[in-house]
Amino acid sequence: MRLKTFKQGIHPGYYKRLSENEPIKRCPFPKRVIIPLSQHTGAPCKPLVEKKDKVERGQKIGEADAFITAPVHSSVTGTVKAIEKRPHPGTGSFKAVVIEREENTEEKEWEKGQLDLQNISADDVRKIVREAGIVGLGGAAFPASVKISPPKEKPIDTIILNGCECEPYLTADHRIMLEYTDDCILGLKIIMKTVRAKRGIVGIEANKMDAYELFLEKTKDEKNIDVKLLEVKYPEGAEKMLIKALLLREVPAGGLPMDVGVVVHNVGTAVSIVEAVRDNKPLIERVVTVTGKGINNPGNFMVPIGTPFSDVIEAAGGLKDNAAKVIMGGPLMGIAQSDLGVPVIKGTSGILVLTADEIDIEEEVNCIRCARCVDHCPMYLIPTEYVRFAKGEAWERLDSCHIMDCIECGSCAFVCPSKIPIVQYIKLGKLALRNLESKKG
């Protein structure tokens, strides 16, 4: 059988063995949590609590009055110690609510409730998902309530549940698919019902055969749900690539999946939606893969949002002596951290620790125009030109060669023999273009 896939892309080393067989363990509650008021794409929240306030686990502590946003909740019971700028793993620093946990408290757990799929209304689901602060857990952290509220003129026929997990090392989604299979499928059904999609597809990369077979078995009586196997290739799990691979539809440049009648949700997000709709539980914890050769006991952990990286790393046996780089996310799109006091946020799919011998910071040499970047770009762009124009500050020319369509997957820099940090130049170019745009007004 020929596996479904997209054109171009790369085949990195995956290293998933380190943690793929480790069942999800609970990360101990930390002494204090740091909950940034922005953990998502969209408007940042305003705090709903003040210093010295007592808060409960699951209590909403931040909210914004906007369409594209997601409220934040406390993941522990305790006292607000500060509301101040704190290091943030994605944006450098951001205003956060710091909560000190009450010692020896029994933290609330949510019982599995009952759910009658027939009797829930789409509007209720949207409200609940919004209130629960659910965002895409694949990494981009786009508010889930927005995704399940497509405008009327854009009917959705297919929901794709994204179980690709194409970033090397990460196994959180894999474990979720194995341990929360029923919830994944129920989540898919809830989303399908909410947006009135007729069809659901679960896309799983071929390096997770156990998950694939489990889903096949559990959906064999579901007429509207297909489980599809995808080639192991990066970035298979990028929305646009996944839609192309499964449905042969191309999301128009600058457009969204809903433009081609599709909504894609990560498997972890589907589980969170179930927990919100069925059990009334907000998004206050998530599965994080803690892995890499620089960590003593790699594994998958259920981590309260706001837990400092250092506590999570401790739960995984701590760093090895030769640990040299700590990354939030996978090795291809993840963000290197300088401060291990940064908190786990809703978009933290993994904490990857690389060792000194795995990191060779090679000096950038001249581009030899070998076009490997061109041959591997999943968006069919010409990355070498972006570097040239960004270096020459020819911003307008960047726009004319579609830099804004770049998804920053890093395939170009992965294959570049001249070790040019192409993604960095692209980010710089996009920023400069946006600044130009806003100046023009």
């Binding site: 790369i10 990195p12 080393g13 646009k240 192309k244 191309e250 999301v251 128009p252 440049a253 600058g254 250092s310 790393i313 760093l319 040299a324 780089k325 700590v326 990354i327 090795p331 291809l332 799109m333 993840g334 963000i335 290197a336 951290q337 300088s338 291990l340 990857l352 690389l354 990191i359 910071i361 090679e362 040499v365 001249n366 581009c367 030899i368 125009r369 070998c370 076009a371 061109v374 041959d375 999943p378 968006m379 069919y380 010409i382 070498t384 030109e385 060669c401 579609h402 369509d405 890093g410 820099a413 992965f414 294959v415 570049c416 023999p417 001249s418 070790k419 940090p421 993604v423 980010k427």
Partner: protein, 314 residues
């Protein structure tokens, strides 16, 4: 906890090959051709190769020193240029002429444009074109292969062009003919190219379209008038087509970056070779075909930009 964490921009995992590794790979791929050239043309070939390589490396170092730039002779690109230049020169060429060609290859072929990656034309071919213009007789004087004495002969292509005689394909394949150092032995070049393809240091589109075009056009000519035109096999293995299509036209710096562009580049080279060989005043046209297409590379790049994912054809 841990201090001094390394911070760098994503991706944090990269493929192994580096540009110097790619350069070295191409140099290794030329070893069979080097061995063949020394086998056929003895000490002359060896000395010419050494002198050309010394010339390019020395020139690059001096040029960069004078311009107070970082000296990059370790990246292997200057060595490769010198080697390629030597392989497309006649074995009887005086060594000082070879050296001069090497100097010119680096100065006007590469450094004047800003160094590695910036040049428009293939530097080795620029070196050869310079010598061709300056010392036309020396550049078209050939010696017999396989013997120590310099007995003059002609290349299969000029024998074809001026005497209408065809050299046997087996001789062409093995390289037992008059010609430039590294161009005569087709099999050695093909072995090297297969190595590059396996290592993915070379894209197959240019060689395929270049050689394919020559094959098709020469077949058409041969079918029309078998008495007047040589066989397609002759066109493929005589002269510099193999070294040109496999090692010169594939120079990434001077060939298009788009996939479609690479096909156009190869087809263009193929058409030019057949035109020059068949109707031109020169017996061989590989060098000029590649240099001319090099000049078109920026234009080809501009007009073959692929439609981006989700984009619309205009």
């Amino acid at each position: 906890m841990k201090e001094n964490l390394i911070i760098s921009v994503s991706p944090h995992q990269k493929e192994k090959p580096t540009t110097p590794m790619v350069m070295r790979g191409v140099i290794y791929a030329l070893i069979p051709a080097v061995i063949a050239s020394i086998y056929y043309f003895k000490l002359r070939a060896f000395l010419l190769i050494i002198v050309c390589i010394a010339g390019t490396i020395l020139t690059e170092a001096v040029f960069q020193k004078l311009r107070r730039k970082t000296i990059t002779i370790n990246d292997g690109s200057a060595l490769l240029t010198g080697l390629l230049l030597a392989l497309v020169l006649p074995p009887s060429l005086p060594l000082w002429v070879g050296f001069l060609g090497a100097v010119m290859a680096i100065v006007i072929g590469k450094q004047i444009f800003g160094g590695l990656g910036q040049n428009i034309f293939n530097p080795a071919l620029i070196g050869r074109a310079f010598l061709m213009a300056t010392f036309p007789v020396m550049l078209t004087t050939w010696i017999k292969p396989g013997i120590f004495d310099a007995v003059s002969t002609a290349t299969p292509l000029s024998i074809m062009k001026f005497d209408k005689n065809i050299t046997s394909t087996l001789y062409l394949f093995l390289g037992n003919t008059g010609g430039s150092l590294g161009e005569t032995c087709a099999i050695a070049l093909i072995i090297g190219a297969i190595f590059l393809l396996i290592k993915k240091y070379m894209d197959w589109r240019i060689p395929l379209s270049y050689i394919g075009t020559v094959l098709i056009l020469s077949s058409v000519l041969y079918l029309i008038k078998p008495a007047q035109y040589p066989t397609p096999w002759f066109h493929l293995f005589a002269g510099g087509l193999m070294i040109g299509a496999l090692f010169m036209a594939t120079d990434p710096v001077t060939s298009p970056v788009t996939k479609k562009g690479r096909y156009i580049f190869g087809v263009g080279c193929g058409i030019l070779v057949i035109i020059i060989r068949t109707w031109g005043g020169l017996p061989e046209g590989v060098m000029y075909s590649i240099l001319l297409m090099n000049a078109f590379t920026p234009l080809i790049n501009r007009y073959t930009v692929p439609v981006q994912f989700g984009g619309r054809k205009k």
